[in-house]
Amino acid sequence: MFSFILTRLLSSIVVLFGVSSLVFFLIHIIPGDPVEVMLGESAQLADKEALRVYLGLNEPIHTQWLKYINGVIHLDLGTSIHYHRSISEIIIERLPATIKLTVWALLVAILIAFPLGILAAVNKDTMVDRGAMFVSLLGVSIPNFVMGPLLIMLFAVNLPWFPVSGSESTFSIVLPALTLGTALAAILSRMIRASLLEVIGEDYIRTAKAKGLTPFNVIIQHAIPNALLPVITLLGLQLGALLAGAVITEMIFSWPGIGQLTIESIQRRDYPLVQACVLLISVTYVGVNTLTDIIYAFIDPRIRLSENVKVISE
């Protein structure tokens, strides 16, 4: 068990190192001169040069990379060009809003997906099943920049129940969480259905039925706990999508989190801050996946008993 966790942690450190380097190199290698974009094409040569020196872009790329990696290790992400403040500070200010949004969205997703998935699995191949799966297909296909405005229209304008945007009121969270949560609910309910269907054919389910348990109890006590494993993995994997989705959702609802910060920084050409935001979201993503694998091993003894098991990332 210990060696499993250790291997898993070590491999995620390698991936994290790769992730931070990739963020750095992609931003530096792709076409386009950040200095030119920041100052405009008509800027004076001397101004461009000054900014280049200020940003450290005049140094050779490997020196810049070493400095950057060194900073990341010491949790020093540099200084924002726009705010003239330490990036770590800015991120710490913005983080709670995003965490709050993600947690509520996750809750929304679970509350929608479980009933929908269970209903579909129990009524397999009936109209209920098809209806539930079509709803879930709609959820996958309607992006959150369409869902968000639609929800605003319905529940903030036509029925003035919730605030249109911002984060001042207690109920401000409702519409962003719904927007972000429904997309995940769609994927999750399909997974719950598939994984329940696999379990429902097992012998112990037949035994439970034969004992005279009600269909409800059979599902709740015997089927769900066994169907939960793949669902947990998917939840872990989808957290990344949730964080990325939060970028657009936060924009729509002016929710003051990391997502909004990312887009604002892109629009302001504040590259150090963009770099830091992308890094933060990716690190969270890798961290959650590693954690999911380890939790998985605790829940399912088959995984921790087979040493050197290669955990497939999807």
């Binding site: 790769g18 405005p149 990312t262 887009i263």
Partner: protein, 266 residues
């Protein structure tokens, strides 16, 4: 009945989309013509989709926008499939150190939420349709590479490949004649779902202002403009939003259909 819903209707939607995108430029459309007296007019019999905030015909803009989404979806999926399956197959076939390095690169790319990486790349490269295509392709190849690698890994042990190797057949020929036909089915299916996600991603980038630049139209940029007029002209969001959702649902349903037909496990 279910075949009508799952196959014929989606096919019809897809054909309309393709038709709009391909025939669009030769139709007498005027997507950028400003009609000041028509600003924010809601849909009517004369103009089925209504007008936008500058009095431009929303119908014309939707038709022109379909070309944007088709171009991007087609380009990104083609580049991603070619790059991905090539890198993945070589990695799986050659094995050893090269394979380890490529797997590590794939793992690192998978550690990013794809759309986020695309947003930042497009943001840094600056707005424009070609940059959107580059950004989405940089993100898109990974899934295909992983799929192709896994397929080739199991295929290279097969007798017919071993026999070809023993006969001294060139690698290029082994790839094109003995591997590609067998790995193409799952790749085609992955590609069909890829089209759906690229359509959404392109609209998302345009929604954020990173895609096509005004006055050019994309469904995402129309939604972006419309979001400002949600209270007075909701049709500016509903029409492009529904168009987008219809095409994506249709592509997904056809993808499911294709998967069942080609009999590939999910």
């Amino acid at each position: 009945m279910s075949k009508i819903i799952n196959f014929w209707i989606p096919l019809a939607i897809l054909v309309i989309w393709l038709f709009m995108a391909i025939i669009g430029p030769i139709l007498p459309l005027d997507p950028n013509k400003v009609r000041l007296q028509m600003i924010l007019q809601t849909p009517s019999f004369e103009e089925i989709f209504g007008y936008d905030d500058l009095g431009r015909s929303l119908f014309d803009r939707i038709v022109v926008g379909s070309r944007t989404s088709l171009t991007v979806a087609f380009a990104v999926v083609c580049i991603s499939v070619t790059m991905g399956s090539l890198i993945g197959s070589v990695s799986g076939f050659v094995g050893g150190k090269l394979d380890q390095i490529i797997v590590l690169i794939i793992d690192i790319f998978l550690a990013f939420p794809g759309i986020l990486l695309a947003i930042s790349l497009a943001g840094i490269m600056g707005p424009g349709i070609d940059n959107v295509i580059i950004a989405l392709s940089i993100v898109g190849w990974v899934g295909f590479a992983r799929l192709a690698r896994v397929q080739v890994l199991s295929l290279k042990q097969r007798e017919h490949v071993q026999a070809a190797l023993a006969l001294g057949t060139s690698y290029v020929r082994i790839f094109t004649r003995h591997l590609l036909p067998l790995i193409s089915a799952p790749l085609i299916i992955e590609a069909s779902f890829g089209i759906a996600s690229v359509i959404i991603a392109e609209a998302g980038l345009s929604f954020l202002g990173l895609g096509v630049q005004p006055p050019a139209a994309s469904w995402g940029s129309i939604i972006r403009d419309g979001a400002h007029y949600l209270l007075v002209a909701p049709h500016m969001v509903i029409v492009p939003g529904l168009s987008l959702a219809c095409v994506v649902v249709a592509v997904n349903l056809l993808g499911d259909h294709l998967r069942d037909r080609l009999d590939v496990k999910n």
